[in-house]
């Protein structure tokens, strides 16, 4: 499949028709969408066109956006790609959905993900298998698999994803698009189903960096319904900084595919024309995977405790004894990877084992934050590869540990709460992608680099 080129928006309706025809043409094969909001979107496009004519249109007027299906859109399915929520419909709009609507974007539908966003390649979805539009034999990347694939296939202008350890940046890299994970707390998570609350952040994928920035600007900001966004508005009023020094942590190149490493180094060389480039070292980067796995699993096991088959989604057997009904519902409706993470998370937070595992991870995370802060006193951004490899083929045997290791370059941004952007190195997805990390709430800086 060829990259459909981005064309300027003529009218919201026309743009939507273009995207819907891409959906009709490709999505039987790609399977990015869980639900297409065709009728609603057409209605909205007409209304937005009216506002465009009246000169009252919002900043995203006519942009067609897909939303990862762990973000609530009122009245629509909210499956998290799990049997547990296969029948569930959201009873409210996520904060970002309210903001997209207010900005006159057109939400075209919900897109697939690894179950509860737990996965790195999209194959842990329990509802459907999303393929990489650039090579249908390859994975699209995860967990925002449908977000990456729908953008790559020209079925939307931008897609929202969620990024807990790289879930926006991995599919962006694998689908050769731009991907952005903002500072933790820059965007309200109200309405985003939890994976790991201290790591989760909503992000954007697009083939157009300027569109990605427009979407980010429209959905960022303080929301009283997500207390971790308290600083977002105040930070927006800060004078934007300008990057002068790029740091390149040597640890970012360990275990990375040679071709990709070479491409990134070449790109860094080009950047030397405009920036001062320094090699730096952040020793705790070696431990990102264990720190992340422990933190994430602990929080995930807590977040998943609400799924007991009683209130919504999968219904447990009401005639069973209470606890047996809970455990049977969870056993039947949650996938293997979910169970693995819940079990690890439960184990490491038990009284007996907490000090040996979870508490250690919390401490190590603090050390990593300090190291990052200290390095980034002198450098404005960090650069390195986005993913250690390109997208693999379906069926390539990978152990969970190998899968977890694929995150090693992205998860530090989540552990430290810093913003990160990934950009394709060429028009060929096999060349890989470069990634830049910025300082807290210096998100805008990242859009000016590269």
């Amino acid at each position: 499949m060829k990259n459909p080129t981005h064309q300027p928006i003529v009218s919201a309706e026309e743009n939507l028709h273009r995207k819907l025809s891409a959906v009709d043409k490709w999505d039987k094969e790609v399977k990015a969408f869980i639900e297409v909001y065709r009728e609603d979107a057409l209605k909205r496009a007409k209304a937005v066109d009216n506002r465009i004519r009246e000169g009252k249109a919002g900043p995203l007027a006519g942009l067609v956006v897909a939303v990862k299906n762990n973000i609530a859109v009122k009245g629509k399915r909210l499956t998290c790609s799990s049997k547990m929520l296969e029948t569930h419909r959201a009873v409210y709009n996520a904060a970002v959905v309210e903001k997209l609507i207010a900005a006159d974007a057109i939400i075209v539908g919900s897109v697939n993900l690894d179950e509860f966003a737990c996965g790195v390649d999209g194959t842990y979805s329990t509802l459907q298998r999303t393929k990489n539009p650039l090579d249908l034999e390859r994975v699209p990347g995860g967990s925002s698999a449908g977000s990456g694939a729908s953008v790559a296939a020209g079925m939307c202008d931008a897609a929202l994803g969620s990024d807990t350890g790289g879930s926006v940046r991995c599919p962006a890299a694998f689908c050769n698009a731009f991907g952005f994970k903002p500072t933790y707390g820059a965007i309200s998570r109200y309405g985003l189903s939890d994976l790991a609350m201290s790591l989760d952040q909503i992000g954007v994928i697009s083939k157009d960096k300027a569109v990605m920035k427009r979407v980010f600007d429209a959905i960022r900001g303080t929301d009283p319904r997500d207390q971790t966004t308290q600083l977002a508005d105040a930070m927006l009023r800060k004078k934007p900084a300008e990057a002068k020094v790029i740091g390149v942590p040597k640890e970012f190149f360990e275990g990375v595919d040679k071709h990709i490493a070479a491409g990134v180094k070449k790109k860094v060389k080009e950047l030397e024309k405009h920036y001062e480039v320094r090699e730096v070292s952040i020793p705790t980067l070696k431990y990102t995977v264990p720190i992340y796995q422990l933190t994430m699993a602990a929080e995930f096991s807590s977040a998943m405790n609400k799924y007991d088959g009683l209130r919504y989604g999968f219904t447990g057997d009401r005639n069973e004894e209470l606890y047996s009904s809970f455990s049977k519902a969870r056993d039947a409706a949650l996938g293997k990877e979910i169970k693995r993470r819940i079990m690890i998370g439960t184990y490491i937070t038990m009284k007996e084992f907490k000090d040996a595992w979870y508490s250690q991870a919390l401490k190590a995370r603090e050390v990593m934050k300090e190291e990052f802060a200290s390095v980034m006193k002198d450098v404005d951004v960090l650069a390195g590869p986005a993913m250690p490899t390109g997208p693999w083929k379906f069926g390539e045997k990978m152990t969970p540990l190998e899968m977890y290791a694929a995150d090693m370059l992205t998860i530090a941004a989540n552990l430290t709460g810093t913003p990160a952007i990934v950009e394709p190195l060429s028009s060929d997805f096999k060349d890989g992608a470069i990634q830049f990390y910025g300082r807290h709430f210096e998100d805008d800086v990242l859009f000016g680099i590269g």
Partner: protein
């Protein structure tokens, strides 16, 4: 004498307009089940807690200050994990201590923290109502400093009085709950859970102490377990036996920023603290010369203490104290009312007491006027007049009734003459009954005796 050790964990629902982490209203008793719900308090996928309710935190701080606690500068919200239908998220948000190392008299307070109430699950119907989910609660944990159910009663009475003075807690049945830890003679500690009232605590403790004594007497050993208090039978039954302590896997809640407590604000709350029951009782006793035990009863409700203080300026304080703790409290308690909720006006009570003191009504007449006052809610003088309860000065009327009684009971008169004093009481009683208490009993007695003599 058996050596008893008791510690309490007391839950109090705080008085706020909205729930602890969202803007849903808190009038959960007044609405249909599951009406006061939003995605947050129903734990819908993707929902997040809003900021911690500021009024709830202030209410906690006031209580902690009243309990002489040290206030911590910061605390964090944690998740306490457990699965039960009343719990929509699979965990309860509960803070680390905010107040600690306090005391109420000789009972030390270990800590005070804030948490969210779960919903209400009806096991038999298999239904759940989440209106209560998210009502702000505090938990007050005492050290094991109580030695008897009576100690617990005194502690809880004073605590309820304080909550009333501060006006920070929900004032309705079921808004205060407690768990009690009890052991005897250094034996195993047993936890009694789900006690839904303060009076229930005393009953549960009394039962549990006897149960443990009986176990030991029969040569058994008290085992570590959690017991449930059955209100209907005033007894406790096994809820679960625990080999090890439960593991709630406490985790800091990443969705709730650390709670920071401003010192200047705490100092301000401290300055605005009203005079509390203990200090008030001491002052009333000193200033008005009333007995300390009477002062304690008066200060249990701030409105009653205030009533006393105002009335005591116009009459003999000890008499007023006895009148309030006697007839007035008797009628309030019988109706399960506080003075505040009774709707009785101070001017009426003052007038009634004045009538009683002046001998315008007998003690029976006063009591009947008071009873009528709860319904009629108007001047006691008017009520007493309407109900014909004012003392009669009409000696002719009294004479007539005494004649009737003495004539009508020849056998009793004969018995009295034969030396049976009780027979006289019967005759006098009859006369007072016919007079509807409108005459002084001493006077009636004298007149009856006079009549008997005349008859000779």
């Amino acid at each position: 004498m058996v050596n008893v050790i008791i510690g309490l964990e007391i839950h109090v629902q705080l008085k706020t307009k909205s729930k602890i982490f969202c803007s849903c209203p808190t009038n959960y008793r007044d609405v249909e089940p599951n009406e006061n719900l939003c995605p947050t308090c129903a734990a819908q996928p993707g929902s997040k807690p809003f900021g911690l309710n500021k009024t709830a935190l202030d209410n906690l701080l006031k209580i902690a200050l009243a309990l002489n606690c040290r206030i911590r500068d910061s605390s964090i919200m944690q998740r306490k994990h457990y699965l039960y239908p009343d719990n929509p998220s699979g965990y309860q948000r509960t803070s680390k201590p905010i107040g600690a190392e306090g005391n109420l008299g000789t009972i030390r307070i270990r800590e005070v923290h804030i948490e969210e109430d779960p919903g209400r699950y009806e096991l038999r119907e298999g239904t759940v109502d989440y209106n209560r989910a998210g009502i702000p609660l505090i938990e007050i944990v005492t050290e094991p400093d109580m030695r008897s159910p009576e100690d617990a009663r005194e502690f809880l009475d004073e605590l309820s009085a304080i909550l009333g003075y501060l006006d920070v807690a929900r004032d309705e049945p079921g808004s205060m709950r407690a768990d009690a830890n009890v052991s005897i003679d250094g034996g195993t500690r047993v936890e009694v859970k789900n006690i839904n009232s303060f009076s229930g605590v005393v009953a549960a403790l009394a039962y549990e102490i006897i149960r443990q004594q009986n176990v030991v007497r029969r040569g058994g050993k008290v085992i570590m377990e959690t017991r449930h208090f059955e209100e209907a039978s005033n007894s406790t039954t096994t809820l679960r036996k625990k080999e090890t302590e439960e593991d709630y896997r406490y985790l800091p809640d990443p969705d709730v920023p650390p709670i920071s407590v401003n010192r200047a604000h705490v100092a301000e709350l401290g300055r605005k603290m009203p005079e509390l029951p203990r200090a008030k009782a001491a002052r009333l006793s000193k200033d008005f010369g009333i007995r300390p035990e009477d002062a304690w009863i008066l200060v249990a409700e701030v409105e009653i203490a205030n009533l006393f203080e105002r009335m005591a300026k116009r009459a003999i304080p000890q008499k007023i104290a006895l009148w309030i703790r006697g007839p007035l409290k008797k009628q309030l308690n019988y109706r399960e009312l506080t003075l505040k909720r009774s709707g009785l006006k101070e001017e009426w009570l003052s007038e009634l007491f004045g009538m009683f003191e002046a001998g315008e009504v007998s003690d029976k007449g006063m009591e009947q006027t008071l009873i009528a006052l709860f319904e009629k809610k108007k001047s006691p003088k008017t009520i007493a007049t309407e109900m014909d309860l004012l003392m009669t000065k009409d000696t002719k009327e009294i004479g007539r009734i005494i004649d009737t009684v003495v004539e009508g009971n020849p056998k009793s008169i004969a018995d009295y003459k034969a030396g049976n004093e009780k027979a006289l009481n019967f005759v006098v009683g009859n006369a007072i009954k016919l007079l509807k208490g409108r005459a002084d009993s001493k006077l009636v007695r004298e007149l009856v005796l006079k009549k008997i003599k005349e008859k000779k």
